[in-house]
């Protein structure tokens, strides 16, 4: 009976492996890109999310007179994850831009994958940003 026991778990193991195929990443060892990296502060309330998803970099650029922000994350685990994020844009006087209203967007990241999410300020008067992140099913 004992010899059959591992066989019983085989389908389960296969299912887990099939549903969580991590990705390998290849990139230039010394990147030519020279992003403008921003020092960022992270307030963590969901420790699990912070453990799974690590912040790689936050960089900015300007398109015309609009601020563009890119945030790069890495999934530190094998299992794919889905999360929702929202950019909020802040003007010089500290007020959050209310119109158009901030939008939640969903994103998926495979195990071991690094992805970048980008946002463009809705108006030229925006000088700062804030990103909210939450894990979804």
């Amino acid at each position: 009976m004992k010899s059959f026991l591992p066989l019983l778990f085989l389908p389960l193991a296969a299912w887990i492996a099939g549903c969580s195929t991590p990705t390998n990443t290849i990139e230039r060892e010394n990147p030519n890109a020279t992003p403008s990296i921003i020092d960022s502060r992270v307030d963590i309330f969901d420790n699990n999310l912070a453990t799974r998803l690590s912040l790689v970099a936050v960089n900015e650029s300007e398109v015309g007179d609009l601020l563009q922000i890119q945030v790069t994350f890495r999934n530190r685990q094998v299992k794919p994850r889905s999360f929702a994020y929202q950019f909020q844009w802040i003007e010089q006087n500290g007020m959050v831009v209310q119109s158009p209203t901030p939008v939640w967007r969903s994103a998926s990241i495979e195990g071991g994958q690094t992805i970048a999410i980008a946002g463009m300020a809705p108006k030229p008067s925006v000088v700062d940003f804030r990103i909210s992140l939450r894990e979804i099913d």
Binding site: V63, A84, P100, V103, W104, S106, M120, K123
Partner: protein
Amino acid sequence: MKIATFLLSLGSLALLAGCGGGAKYVDSSGPNTIVTVNEIDIQDWTNAADQMVQNLLASGVLDRSARQPAVLAISRIVNNTSQQVDTNLLTKRIRIALNQSGKAVTTTTVGLGGTAEDPLAKDQAAYEDFKRGGDGAPAVQPGYSLSGRLIETRATAGSVQQMTFSFLLSLTEIKTGLAVWEDQVDITKQGKKPKVGW
């Protein structure tokens, strides 16, 4: 003991009622909205419009317009989905965002087939132009036209359904007739039945 059990049951029921079907307000684009498989949900419109605005602004096309801000007219948005939808849910959000950005304004007196979105403004502008000795044409002509298409693609595997809604838009420079910006946003949903939250 029986009283305690009864009270405990009552408390549980009250808790369930509180968490259950009571109506509440949720963020229209937020993760607490209802997700359906076969329909374009409110958050899908918002997301598609937001992505397209971001891409349009990032392209810098509007910055290159000779007239600042650029003047847009809304052309035909063809609905090829099985749903009856109002495409203003997409175009109005885009118009609002572009207007807020200061990069573009939309004419409401020039429309598809001569139909103006605001007939009163069109008539009044024509009257004013006629008084000045003009031919009644709007004083400001649009430099760009926004047209597009909504498409759905279905797939099924057993009881799991998958639906992709594709939002396609083109911005045509009227002077040249060339599409100077084009974008496609695909929103794919998979599942067996609608769900609260995503």
